[in-house]
């Protein structure tokens, strides 16, 4: 198939950036979107033009490294699919495709389609863990976890941290990402000791970097792993509940469950 690409090119964080147009004379339906970009890059290099920079690593839809806005939609037209897993059979001969980086205040552009998502790491650092030091764990089966809780926790834990939710949100909010981790750990018995301090610390760290959520729900639509906005509602409830709890105990990070 023949395609025309309009690709965002930006030399660096302080460069203004602009669209450039490239013809793709022979894309094949079995190629992934990134393999199609590889082919474009090979021809750019052959013509002595700087290849298009884009992030990627696993190319299996799991590392969360790739992320391109394709025709206005993070990760493109196919639901529950990362850019690397999007195959060209989802496009038609003659299509013009617009290719842009994630656009969000918290994710500044590094170059072309590459952005800096380290604000996500900062949210996890604020409390996205169970503080179980190595060696201190009890026998694994000593604490049964109801299958339904384990399954729901896994639904949340499936987040790949790609940032599509933020890119899709008109406010550039990170509620879906944050609530997925709050939900994952909060649903498990192992996560209870820090349940309330975790949600407060993570939400407050998130607010330092990201916009606020006004319930558009675009994030769920864009999420390649289909993470549900119900986790956002759950996080909001937990946050409020935590705030009503004993402030002194909360400050010591030791509220516990009630």
């Amino acid at each position: 198939m023949k395609l025309t690409l309009r690709v965002w090119r930006q030399k660096g964080p302080s460069d203004e950036g602009r669209f450039e147009t490239y013809d793709v004379p022979d894309a094949n339906e079995h190629m992934s979107f990134l393999e199609m970009l590889d082919v474009v890059n090979e021809s750019l290099i052959a013509d002595n033009h700087d290849p298009i920079a884009f992030d990627h690593d696993c190319r299996e839809g799991i590392c969360g490294m790739c992320g391109i806005v394709i025709n206005g939609r993070p990760h493109g037209p196919k639901k529950h699919t990362t850019t690397c897993q999007l195959h060209m059979r989802n496009f038609s001969d003659g299509d013009e495709i617009t290719v842009e980086p994630w656009r969000a205040n918290a994710f500044p552009v590094v170059k072309d389609l590459v952005v800096n998502r380290s604000a996500f790491d900062r949210i996890i650092e604020a409390g996205g863990y169970v503080s179980a030091a190595t060696g201190s764990a009890p026998e694994a089966n000593s604490l049964p976890v109801p299958k339904a809780d384990a399954d729901l926790a896994m639904d949340a834990a499936a987040c790949i941290g790609c940032g599509a939710c933020v890119a899709a949100c008109p406010n550039g909010a990170a509620q879906l990402f944050t609530s997925a981790k709050v939900g994952h750990l909060g649903l498990l018995p192992q996560g209870q000791a820090e349940r309330w301090s975790r949600v407060v610390a993570m939400v407050e760290r998130m607010e330092e970097f990201f916009g606020s959520c006004t319930n558009y729900g675009e994030c769920e639509q864009a999420c390649p792993k289909g993470i549900s906005v119900n986790f956002i509602a759950r996080m909001n409830r937990e946050y409020l509940k935590a705030k009503f709890k004993d402030g002194r105990k909360l400050a010591r990070g030791a509220l516990g469950d009630e």
């Binding site: 290849p51 990627h56 897993q85 650092e125 299958k147 750990l185």
Partner: protein, 638 residues
């Protein structure tokens, strides 16, 4: 050079315990006086950095991705082994030890493997405590599945995303230490040189991939946890960024490279579809629990698979290996598939695959059960091929997947360079000549959470009172200079061919001559071809742009240059090992029915190679393997 494994003496089951007692310790209040560099944030690196940080050491953690969570461990699908015996099916530490030694075709160190089996049970406890959402039964207790090379069910899993969940557990433990201030994080940084002073590892030189800045970091000890080198084949199941640069640079500085030719070709991957192919996608081994592998009995049968009657299908693994059937180890399954395709029985338009069929399982268990077990894998298959695996059997073919070889380490996981530790897939590890499924995650986490944190003090204790080396010292300046010179050289060639062009060529040569089947003539051809390709590369590669900003071609160029040197060593090792064992199959050495034929008399050793200069043959050092508890025999899965 005499290679000392430093494996403790005494009864096998007591070795690790008594070793831990004998290791010198660093007292808690002294730990903050030590700086430790950990390169890599996969299961091995993240678990090590987190645990060392918790212990109180000053840790610096490096990775080339934009977040530590994206290390390639995240892509592991199927599961992690542990000798919990929750199924009451006869498992034990000793059985896991035995299966691993046998699966590795008797080319691993007994003491290490036993330790790994012992620690396996603690790993599951640790991960559950961190909130890893392993699959559970309705009782709320942990579920298990079966993997190849074992007759017990000991594999723990989290849907088809076990690696992701274990990686996130380790990443979160690391994040906790970053917040606590014990670990400094350097993302989008690539290690390009190891610095050695007075024969000891003193630090590393890194390039900031965003700004191009080249800086030095010094420490009392350097830990490499930089993963495997399967991307030497270009097409592999590895992530695109997987590379050999960190361990290759260390090898050039004197660290021995052990068993480079032990590479694992995974039997169940999606076959190549065209020239533009950038990687191969694994379909987890767990699928062999329920999938049956077959080809049509008639090589010219072009009917669609559903219309081929049972009696005209050859379930060749079930036929040849009745007791392990579809769950034979990977090397055995891969070679069997290759034999079928080479003999013309391949399926698909390119006749380059075999069927993995879930028809029987779906009619026995129902679609919903299969969906719950493998839903995400089926979805991935459908995305990539455009075919529905619930309706049509999957097409699969072997692909490079894992590297058992790596830097040589002793029982403490220290290389022959004092102060340089190597953990996870980057070391030559505990898997001998073939790794069993679900054992890499186990090894990475054993190394990082439990082994290294217990053994590193043996070395550090001797350095108490000494500051870490001066990063402005001459060895560091020299190493930085070498990195700058190399970056400048790559940018200055301005040749006519892209980096990928060279990488694909290298991969094709290795796949053809040093892949699933190897012979002396082919290996000699490959050695000559790679030598001239390397020369061509340094004269004709085209790397555009500059070194002062994000330049992905430049990153790739450095990695491919190292892969070419490694490719030569791989062939040299494969050529010298005149036997077949595990993943290393020398066509000259096979049994009458085509199975690998070892030569224990002459080759029961670890081949550890010393770098002697670019394009020059490396020098061989041997660590003899002694088997006290398991008697090496011809592996049989029939």
């Amino acid at each position: 050079m005499k290679l000392e494994s430093r494996a403790p003496t005494g009864p096998l089951a007591d070795k690790w315990n008594s070793h831990r007692f004998n290791v010198k310790l660093v007292a808690p209040q002294n730990r903050r006086k030590f700086d430790i560099i950990v390169v890599g944030t996969g299961l091995a690196g993240a678990s090590a950095a987190a645990t060392l940080g918790e212990a109180g050491y000053n840790v610096k953690s490096f990775c080339f991705q934009d977040s530590p969570r994206r290390a390639h461990s995240i892509a592991a699908q199927g599961g992690i082994n542990a000798a919990k015996n929750y199924r009451n099916d006869g498992d034990s530490v000793h059985r896991l030890f035995y299966d691993t030694i046998k699966g590795g075709d008797y080319r691993a160190r007994e003491a290490n493997v036993h330790r790994l089996a012992e620690i396996s049970v603690q790993i599951i406890d640790q991960c559950v405590a961190q909130g890893v959402p392993f699959a559970r039964e309705y009782s709320g207790l942990l579920d298990n599945r079966s993997f190849g090379g074992a007759q017990v069910s000991r594999t723990f899993y989290a849907r088809g995303q076990t690696g992701q969940q274990l990686e996130l557990g380790a990443y979160q433990a690391l994040a906790r230490q970053v917040e606590a201030g014990t670990v400094d994080l350097y993302t989008r940084h690539e290690m390009l040189e190891l610095v050695v002073t007075e024969g000891r590892a003193a630090g590393i030189v890194v390039r900031d991939l965003v700004t191009g800045e080249i800086t030095s970091h010094s420490a009392h000890a350097v830990v490499l946890a930089t993963g495997g080198y399967t991307n030497v084949f270009f097409l592999s199941t590895g992530a695109k960024g997987c590379n050999t640069t960190a361990i290759w640079r260390a090898h050039r500085k004197g660290a021995l490279f052990a068993n480079p030719c032990y590479t694992q070709i995974h039997p169940t991957c999606i076959p190549v579809s065209g020239d533009y192919q950038s990687k191969l996608t694994l379909m987890s081994e767990s699928l062999r629990n329920d999938g049956r592998i077959w080809v049509p009995k008639d090589a010219n049968d072009r009917r669609s698979p559903g219309t081929i009657p049972e009696s005209e299908r050859d379930y060749y693994l079930e036929r040849i290996y009745p007791s392990f059937a579809n769950l034979v180890p990977r090397d055995v399954a891969s070679r069997a598939a290759k034999r079928m395709v080479d003999a013309g029985f391949g399926v698909g338009d390119l006749k380059n695959g075999v069927y993995l069929d879930f028809g029987t399982a779906i009619s026995r268990l129902g679609r919903a059960t299969i969906e719950a077990r493998y839903g995400n894998l089926f979805e991935m298959y459908a995305n990539i091929t455009g075919e529905d695996p619930y309706a049509v059997p999957m097409r699969i073919y072997p692909a490079p997947h894992y590297t058992m070889g790596g830097l040589w380490v002793d029982y403490n996981l220290m290389s022959n360079l004092p102060g340089l530790y190597v953990i996870g897939e980057a070391n030559f590890s505990d898997h001998g000549a073939n790794r069993l499924g679900a054992s890499a995650l186990m090894q990475g986490l054993a190394d990082g959470y439990f082994v290294l944190p217990a053994t590193i003090s043996e070395y550090l204790a001797g350095q108490l009172g000494q500051p870490s080396p001066d990063p402005a010292g001459s060895a560091f300046k020299e190493a930085e200079g070498a990195v700058r010179e190399r970056v400048g050289r790559l940018l200055g060639i301005k040749g006519s061919r892209s980096v990928d062009w060279f990488h694909r060529r290298l991969g094709r040569t290795l796949w053809e001559h040093c892949g699933m089947g190897r012979n002396a003539d082919g290996l000699k051809t490959a050695l000559a071809d790679i030598g001239s390709l390397r020369e061509e590369f340094w004269n004709d590669v085209r790397v555009l742009g500059d070194g002062e900003s994000l330049n992905q071609s430049l990153e790739k160029a450095g990695r491919v240059a190292d892969f070419m040197e490694l490719g030569e060593l791989l062939c040299q090792d494969a050529l010298h090992r005149e036997e077949s064992c595990g993943g290393h199959f020398r066509e000259e050495h096979q049994t009458p029915d085509g199975e690998a034929m070892r030569d224990d008399e002459n080759f029961a050793y670890v081949a550890a190679w010393e770098f002697k200069g670019e394009g020059k043959p490396a020098e061989l050092h041997k660590e003899e393997l002694e088997f006290e508890y398991v008697h090496p025999s011809q592996r049989s899965y029939k």
